[in-house]
Symmetry: C2
Subunit: 350 residues, 2 copies
Amino acid sequence: MNNTIGIKEVAELAGVSIGTVDRVLHNRNGVSNKTASEVRKIIKETGYKKNTVASRLKLAKSKVINIAVLFPEEAKLKSHYWNLPIIGIEKAITELKEMGIRYQISFFKMNETNSFISAYNKILDSNVDGIISVSFFKDACNELNFLTAKKNIPLVYIDTQLELSNTKYCIHQNAQIGGAVASRLLYQIIGFHGNYLVINLMTKSELNQNSHQREEGFRRFFKTENLPVHSLKSFNVSVKDLSPLINFLKSYQKESIPLGVFVTNSRAHLISPLLEKLNLKSTTLIGYDLNKANRKLLESNKIQCIINQKPDFQGYTAIKGLFKYLTEGEEDQLLLDIPVEIVLKENLNQ
Amino acid sequence: MNNTIGIKEVAELAGVSIGTVDRVLHNRNGVSNKTASEVRKIIKETGYKKNTVASRLKLAKSKVINIAVLFPEEAKLKSHYWNLPIIGIEKAITELKEMGIRYQISFFKMNETNSFISAYNKILDSNVDGIISVSFFKDACNELNFLTAKKNIPLVYIDTQLELSNTKYCIHQNAQIGGAVASRLLYQIIGFHGNYLVINLMTKSELNQNSHQREEGFRRFFKTENLPVHSLKSFNVSVKDLSPLINFLKSYQKESIPLGVFVTNSRAHLISPLLEKLNLKSTTLIGYDLNKANRKLLESNKIQCIINQKPDFQGYTAIKGLFKYLTEGEEDQLLLDIPVEIVLKENLNQ
DNA sequence: CTGAAAGCGCTTACAG
DNA sequence: CTGAAAGCGCTTACAG
């Protein structure tokens, strides 16, 4: 490969100055159609690629890349789940610091659509080059998709993923695969002759879409693998009142066969004490996310397995991907499936 | 933070020219002690950090960073295990291309120390800035450690890790943790009332150190967790003649309790057919490494779990770490524990 | 519509 | 022993 093609060579071949080549490269106006197409031809022929390092060195101060991060306010709490993506974001920003990039974070209240809307409006009014957020509110996010598309501002959703119209970029874990991994693990442990229970802990009135898809993946496994099981039930319950679940769990007390429990969100730590109190022995518990409570239960063998969505990695990747997109127009790092990471007590603190 | 401290500011504060500051920064001679210490003082006070982007832009052509990679010749074969680190290496090189870095690969024969020695001698005679290799031969690697230290060339071992004297940098997976993860998985499936078997498949006369440590981690789990088991045995066998193993496995045919098999290297695919032929039902098989054969058996449920050492990630990290070290003197990315990745059929192709 | 020139922060050959 | 100047590849304000 001819690695020596720079803007200078392109300019020479096209018989113009490097300034003109640069104008064409950035679609700035002030170039005649004829010149522009000639330059474009040469760029195509030579396979010229802009040197991002040189470009960013020049622009690092005068044209800093501004990333807005819009997260639930829980992100402010250290060691909270929503704080983890920020760790990754900061790592990426540090790595790219010399390239001239910074981020600013704003917060919204999880149960107030309006706080989300007013936050993103403020962001859109500011001088922003890219946005990282999460899709909690369907209508508001659809609107945000529309507004950012109009303004040509890349918007990356990480983590939870609502089904929206026109979402362009998202970095998250495939919920179906997570569910299937959970069922495979439980099935290997418990086998045909056991009871399976999916618990959807709800904070809102309707079932979270992520939970729904995880359950779907969980159930599909048994079909795909053609494994009939003794009993597979699911139970939706509000975190505000777990008593219906407690009553339901009592029905397993009489049974002597093992029970496998899959909690479809980060709140497996709420279930473990119930199982203990009800004295449901030989129960295997699988949940999501390495929050403090889950970590502790993993360490004390009360939870057997946690599926990690690697929120830090998601944040990291979102920044790296946005940088790549904004500097080189490359999109493929902004549509990513994060691998399902299986965490046991033994590989917890690596 | 004062992000505006550049070499210019340092020069001004020290009352010298930027050329002199640069000489101090790179410990080049031709600076009086007095001037040098004054400059160093200012650097310390201001917390000045060289801008790597600018530095590499200047040097990208005149001082390309040369990385030598020395791998077993199996690395030439696509889809072979030893080819995987190269994929990661190439990814990292591509990302850093504009910074002026390239790599050159040479090969040695796995069972010929001399081919390794003559290969590294050739590398050391060339103009090389850093080396990535693997430690297969104890004496030769000790010698290589010595030679590279003398020449001040950073040497990173990835993957397998012999216990050598004076190994400075290595990127690999903790073998003990891998073994412990395997035992946890098997124990959850098989429980107290089962047979556990560790199979060490050997290519040489003595037991590979990695295998040894994996077995150690496997056995330690039962002690740490205080879980006595019905039977836990291990069997060392040469890949050249599996018949002793076959005979040994026959002893399990009479037993009606489940069997958990842990293969401590990448050759679980050699064991699966034996288990089938001997009709050892309700056996769970765990091994290492996502080679083609293992992948296939995972997909057909003949192997239940594979521990992935992420060789591609190791190669990627080695290049990134060497670059960081060579440009900024930062060492910590060259001493790395790669997380133990648990792979089931469901999260295999992510 | 286009070019020449200055400059991003660092490095180095050259001159003194 | 030290400084002034040129240059890495790109960008842009300025002049025409």
